[in-house]
């Protein structure tokens, strides 16, 4: 299935049986409803209903929790990388 959007993007769904959520404002298509809700409020906030906004707030909260864990992982990774690099430098320059 090939579909052109008004946003100048080309869309493709792998199989006809795959789930498709379509934005009612710009024909942008998504695999999951959560992504559609995010898109609707992020791009067409002034057109969204109160129910959509409420759903967005709920999903944002869930995503914020996941994002917090993600950021913790990132901070840990930064520290670990710096430490590893410092060790490599120490061994390379001394050895």
């Amino acid at each position: 299935m090939e579909k052109n959007s008004v946003l100048g993007l080309e869309f493709s769904t792998p199989r006809a049986s795959d789930p498709v959520e379509t934005c009612p404002f710009c024909e942008f298509i998504f695999r999951e409803r959560d992504d559609l809700i995010f898109h609707m409020v992020e791009v067409h906030s002034h057109k969204c209903s109160a129910k959509t906004n409420e759903e967005y707030r709920r999903l944002s909260l869930i995503e914020s929790n996941k994002l917090f864990i993600y950021h913790l992982k990132i901070c840990s990774l930064i520290m670990l990388t710096m430490m590893a690099l410092a060790y490599i430098y120490a061994f390379a320059l001394v050895g």
Binding site: L9, E10, R31, D35, L85, Y89
Partner: protein, 461 residues
């Protein structure tokens, strides 16, 4: 195989190869000034130096990943400083166009009748030092002025035209092939040191360009098919300055690529290929000057009796194809990881713009020392165009090679940011855009390490 497991599988093999390569017992110390005319050895081994570059890009991505608020991203990209630009400072375009046509003819004549020693030749120094190195820098730093200064465009406007419709199927293919052909001539002939050859090539290019604009009209030809105009238009989108009627806005580099206010008009695969071509030629230029290339590629192939031009032609085709294949593969994995319905074709086009800062950073790194070294020779040749003089290159400050490495890293970091912003434009939520970046960042890390390896490799004698 899901996108993420495919990514993990690929990355595992890449890292194994990388570690294997770094453990090879090659006693080569980093030459932080492997750039032209400098060869001061650095105090750290090459593999560690290259690894550090890759780590810096990886960490820059991790830091950028902390910025997930769309409003903040928009605020950063829309930040600009407006400076008044008085009308009397605006240059007279007609005079500049006349000057550019005069310089073209002057360069052509001096190339044929002037001194043939490259460091005394105005033609060689003007084309390679001032125009190719210096002017290109002004385009990606301050903005594209080539549309106004292009002497061939100024001449073509004065000539009649058949105004045939430009075939849309051709797209940017002539520009991409033209740019590769230009590099082939640069590396495979004596055009960089023979003023006479340079003039002949300029005459050939002039005839071809004027014929193209005669058939298709000046505007369609220079917008689609002319490699030099397209090259400068792409670089111009990187600039720190934007001019309006009465003011000049200073903003972050590459902002126009993110906000979509650029004039690239990327809409098809051939446009992506052109950007890949720009990226590739800057790398290829550096690669062929390394000892590695000479020892392992050039000399073995020459010993088989293959002509130099054919070697370069094959290398350009294979290398260009490889660059595109790696980029395309990264986009395919990004598409799978993000789980988006946006087609791979569209993602290919949208993320291509983020490669431009890498090319600009590499160009700046490659040509800063070159420009500073040969600029005094150009000044002398300007005032004494017919008298050859012995050339004594200035010794550059010891921090110039370090500056070159910083430019490469800054180009990559800028690219990481632009790619991050584009992903937030395309994908919804905050986690999906971040995850979509893994493969793109991965190839950026590899490319940074490859670039640093090139500039730290000993130069071929």
């Amino acid at each position: 195989m899901t996108g993420f497991s495919l990514f993990k599988f690929t990355s595992k093999w890449f890292f194994l190869i990388l570690i294997g390569a770094s453990l090879l017992p090659i006693p080569v110390m980093a030459h932080a000034g492997g750039l032209p005319l400098t060869n001061e050895p650095a105090i750290i081994p090459t593999w560690l130096f290259v690894l550090t570059g890759g780590v810096i890009i990886g960490i820059s991505f991790l830091f950028v990943s902390l910025v997930t608020h769309r409003q903040l991203i928009d605020n950063i990209n829309s930040y600009q400083l407006s400076l008044p630009f008085p009308q009397f400072l605006k240059p007279n375009i007609s005079i500049l166009q006349f000057l550019s046509i005069f310089l073209l003819i002057y360069t052509l004549i001096l190339g044929i009748f002037g001194p043939q020693n490259p460091v005394s030749s105005f033609s060689i120094l003007f084309v390679w030092v001032i125009w190719w190195a210096g002017y290109t820098m002004t385009v990606y730093l301050f903005g594209n002025t080539w549309d106004a200064l292009n002497p061939w465009k100024s001449i073509s406007i004065l000539l009649p035209s058949l105004n045939h419709p430009y075939p849309s199927k051709l797209g940017s293919w002539p520009a991409s092939i033209g740019l590769l052909f230009f590099v082939l001539i640069e590396v495979g002939s004596d055009i960089t040191y023979s003023p006479y050859t340079l003039s002949l090539v300029l005459i050939f290019y002039t005839i071809l360009t004027l014929m193209g604009s005669f058939v298709y009209g000046s505007k369609p030809w220079f917008e689609n098919a002319d490699p030099i105009s397209k090259f400068f238009r792409c670089y111009g989108e990187m600039s720190l300055l934007t001019s309006s009627k009465n003011s000049i806005e200073i903003h972050l580099p590459g902002t126009k690529l993110v906000t979509g206010s650029n004039t690239l008009g990327l809409s098809a695969r051939h446009e992506v290929l052109f950007i890949i071509t720009i990226l590739f030629i800057t790398t290829y230029d550096g690669l062929i000057s390394t000892q590695f290339w000479n020892k392992w590629v050039l000399i073995p192939l020459l010993s088989l009796g293959i002509p130099l031009l054919i070697i370069h032609l094959l290398s350009l085709i294979v290398g260009h194809g490889l660059f595109y294949a790696i980029y395309h593969y990264a986009i395919i994995i990004s598409h799978r990881i993000s789980g988006t319905y946006i087609s791979i074709h569209s993602l290919n086009i949208k993320f291509a713009a983020s490669l431009l800062p890498i090319a600009a950073g590499y160009h700046l790194a490659h040509f800063t020392g070159y420009l500073l070294t040969f600029f005094p020779a150009f000044v002398y040749a300007t005032f004494h165009p017919l008298s050859p003089v012995p050339f004594h290159p200035n010794s550059l400050p010891h921090w110039i090679p370090l500056l070159a490495l910083i430019f490469i890293l800054l180009g990559h970091i800028c690219s990481v940011w632009i790619s991050h912003c584009i992903s937030f434009k395309l994908f919804s939520g905050r986690l999906q855009p971040l995850r979509s970046q893994y493969p793109i960042i991965f190839i950026m890390i590899l490319y940074t390490m490859f670039s640093l390896w090139i500039v730290t490799s000993p130069l071929a004698r």
